[in-house]
Amino acid sequence: MRYLPSAPSEDRALLDAIGVERAEDLLKGIPPELRLNRDLELPPQASELDVLRTMTALAAQNRRFTARFLGAGAYDHFVPTAVDMITSREEWFTAYTPYQPEVAQGTLQAIFEYQTLICDLTGLEVTNASMYDGATATVEAALMAVRQAKKKNTILISQGLHPHYQEVLCTNITPHEGLKLVQVALKDGVTDLDDLKAKLGPDVACVMVGYPNFLGCVEDLKAISDIVKPAGALLVSVTQEAMAFGWLEGPGKLGADMACGEAMSFGNYVNFGGPFLGFLAVKDAYKREIPGRLIGQTKDLDGQTGYVLTLASREQHIRRDKATSNICSNQALVALRANIYLQLAGPEGLKGIAEQNAAKAQYLRQRLLELPAFEAVYDQPFFNEFVLRYTGDVKAMQKACSDEGILAGLDLSPYATTLQGCTLWCATETTTRAQIEHLVEVLARIPSLG
């Protein structure tokens, strides 16, 4: 086994030093009847070359597409080479959680910079070192809002939240007796303000709104804030596509008390949905309630600036069952990728990328609407995703696309009865005009319903 530092003479020396004949003798703490007295029924060890062949063959069983128009929570953005190169350094990817700050200043300073950038993008004051993904960050935001609001027990969620986020929220809120999740309806693709007003009682701890939402529509957070604030509830924005922050104002500047969501778009691949990057940013007033790790700036004995894990009294290893969350491992390396990405892009780059996303999505929508089979559904501003109704057979249309190496938009039919025949399309800076024209050509060839 190539990874084991085993040599017969040394193995013997180790056993002799311990004073046992065989390694198995050290299992004496396990009662014999509880041991596995047979070999594992698994294939034998394999060479590096053999394993690479096996894994390459598995990867090849996935269908690869030359053009991809699917987003819905996982976005295809360009990953600059420097991101992969930097994060392949062992000092970054093999290190543990920075519990010994004197030998982890690299990780600690990098997370401090990451925290600064997430605060800048969201327009809020405090963020943690990362959460698992957009869905679990949404759960933590809701639980935090409920803790903050003390006796209020209702969480209002806009139906525009990603349906998977809604389901994960439901999974995690259900065990808490007394807490209620209530949906607010949509109207023309955005949160229905009349329904929101009707449901915004004194028991509401927070209101969670997609920004942009699952259907790609940009919600007017300011208008929502103006309704939520007087009712004494917290406003939480949920962003499944953080690249939109290059196009849209930070939620904190529009009245949100917390912003959470998914930031995989900064320097990561779609990777079958993970590892992704959950973020949760809050107003300064809530910093002692936020879950997860926080990095703070301080001085060492000689007065030099350094960084440490801080406010740990919120966390599970200190507070046990009174902790703000059970989270321990987070998505640190994914946060590092986002950090590198954002530093490479800078303010001009990020705005430029966002503008390209908007331009490509608008062009894609315009070209699709020129085809008789597509109809507009909502009249709302959007960033890089939008909904169109397809009047033909959606599954057949997707099949026609995949036969031509194109990953078509998402079939929304399973998500709501009101979305029958609707499809969700996405374009990013990686989408080319030629890909869009090819898509249009393929779609135009599909026989019409006649």
């Binding site: 929570g73 000092e91 700050p101 808490h176 993970g274 507070r319 059970n326 987070n330 062009y363």
Partner: protein
């Protein structure tokens, strides 16, 4: 060559106009601005302007202040800092995987589904449990999934049980998880050999009686949903009465959850499913060699008994079968089954940290069944070698046989005013990452050492030598230890001020 000892925050070296990333020229008409004015992104306050060179140098310099696994021995107890094979990184970066979209149709991601299904089969054989989900993103997420499975099971029987029993030696995530799943936590005391006490225990410092497992079961009965037990426990000791604990719990309709953080001691030697465990999580970032990444991402698969399977997070992967004569044979075709009426629901937006799952599968294939067992045995040998060499130099509170890790403490050194923290900081100057310190909580001044199977005799001898020298220094010149470290990029940091007046981001002066 001397390394730079200062690297300013990137924000301080930003020069407007610089850029480190560019894009092809826009090949479609510019966007029409449909945003209401107040929703338009205003200026950024911190986002820096740098060239690619600036950014690469920044992160390269910062990286040199980190101690990584390839810099030397990293014996963090309970963390299983084993070698991170480079092949795993290569396979996880195959474009067939990285480009695959989580909302794509099943027919387009057959490779991913086959891989996940196969790893589940391996984990079933390793744990002796018949069902596995790969969705949880980390150990704590696995715990939460596991405890919610227990909850769903009890609810299906119409029972509202409110209590979870957790040993005082358990990881902090256990009680935090139980609380997140809506349970009350009742602590189980440890006995003098470091295992769970069935009998009541008198706390020597307070004189208070702490109820043992048998008493708690008798008193709380069907209030108990289950127990969360780490095995081997955080002292590296196998809970030798685990089967009896399981039988007693099952007798009152409760379940046994096992925290699998220490599974590196059991792979190929004993299977939780064979000693009464109903549900457990594994840490792919510990036992299965996936990198820690400076804090994550990890992956925390959950394995469980058949009675819990209907409640697993959805979707689950199903292998298609073909009819052959009277019977059915498995096909090389897989699908995601979303139609799971009893499922606890989703626990992640998609399927968890898939990239980590690819790495763990690669590790499994490399090792095979025989290599996995060889790794376990070597990990146990290594821990016992260090135990043998350092016993007497450092105090060993529990002298019960241990498996993959060993917990010493500072009680010999405190006589000279030297603490575990001093020992850890001095170890940095000898070029080693310190062990886990001050955990488990039941050992005062704990030094928890887990060498893993990756360490050679030479590396361990150097570590043992350093630990012995430090013990000698503690005796002869304790001030060296109090001052340590002096050779690192920063010295000991003021954590009190950091918490009292938190500075959690950079702001423009």
């Amino acid at each position: 060559m001397a390394l730079r000892t200062r690297e300013s925050l990137i924000f301080e070296s930003s020069v407007p106009g610089k850029i480190g990333m560019d894009l092809p020229k826009l090949d479609v008409p510019a966007a029409t601005d449909t945003r209401p004015t107040h929703l338009k992104r205003n200026a950024f306050e911190a986002l820096p302007s740098c060239s690619e060179v600036d950014v690469i140098r920044h992160f390269t310099r910062l990286s040199k202040w980190n101690f990584g696994l390839d810099d030397g021995m990293y014996p963090l107890g309970s963390c299983t800092m084993k070698h991170n094979p480079r092949l795993n990184e290569k396979t996880a970066a195959l474009p067939g995987f990285t480009e695959s979209h989580p909302m794509a149709q099943d027919i387009h991601v057959q490779g991913n589904l086959a891989l996940m299904f196969t790893l589940q089969e391996w984990l079933k054989e390793i744990t002796g449990l018949p069902a596995v989900t790969l969705h949880p993103s980390a150990g704590a997420a696995g715990e939460l999934t596991g405890v919610m499975l227990m909850r769903a099971y009890h609810l299906s029987k119409g029972a509202h049980r409110r209590v979870i029993l957790i040993p005082d030696s358990g990881h902090g995530t256990n009680p935090a998880t139980a609380a997140m799943a809506g349970y009350d936590v009742v602590e189980l005391p440890s006995r003098e050999d470091g295992t769970i006490s069935f009998e009541d225990v008198t706390d020597p410092s307070t004189g208070k009686i702490r109820k043992g497992f048998a008493t708690l079961v008798a008193e709380l009965g069907n209030e108990i949903a289950g127990a969360m037990i780490t095995n081997p426990n955080t002292l590296g000791i196998f809970e030798y009465r685990i089967k009896e604990i399981a039988d007693i719990l099952h007798g009152i309709g409760a379940l046994l959850y096992m925290d699998g953080a220490n599974m590196n001691a059991l792979v190929g030697t004993a299977r939780p499913g064979d000693f009464g465990v109903d549900v457990m999580h594994l840490n792919l970032h510990k036992t299965f060699s996936t990198p820690h990444g400076g804090g994550g991402p990890g992956s925390g698969p959950v394995a469980c008994i058949a009675a819990l399977e209907p409640f697993l997070p959805r979707p689950v992967i199903v292998r298609e079968t073909a009819k052959v004569g009277e019977g059915e044979v498995p096909k090389h075709a897989y699908r995601l089954d979303w139609d799971r009426p009893e499922s606890m629901g989703k626990v992640h937006a998609f399927f968890g940290n898939f990239g980590i799952v690819v790495r763990a599968m690669t590790y499994c294939l490399s090792h095979g069944g025989d290599g996995l067992k060889a790794a376990t045995l070597r990990a146990i040998v290594n821990a016992n070698y260090i135990r043998k060499e350092l016993t007497g130099v450092y105090h060993l509170e529990y002298d019960t046989p241990t498996l993959h890790e060993i917990v010493f403490d500072d009680s010999i050194q405190t006589k000279k005013g030297v603490s575990t923290l001093d020992i850890a900081k001095r170890l940095l100057e000898y070029g080693f990452h310190p062990p886990t310190i001050y955990f488990p909580l039941i050992v005062h001044g704990a030094l928890m050492i887990e060498p893993t199977e990756s360490e050679s005799k030479q590396e361990m001898d150097a570590f043992i030598d350093a630990m012995k020298k430090i013990a000698q220094e503690a005796d002869e010149n304790p001030d060296i230890l109090h001052q340590a470290p002096t050779t690192t990029v920063v010295r000991r940091l003021d954590e009190t001020t950091a918490a009292r007046k938190p500075i959690l981001r950079w702001t423009k002066a």
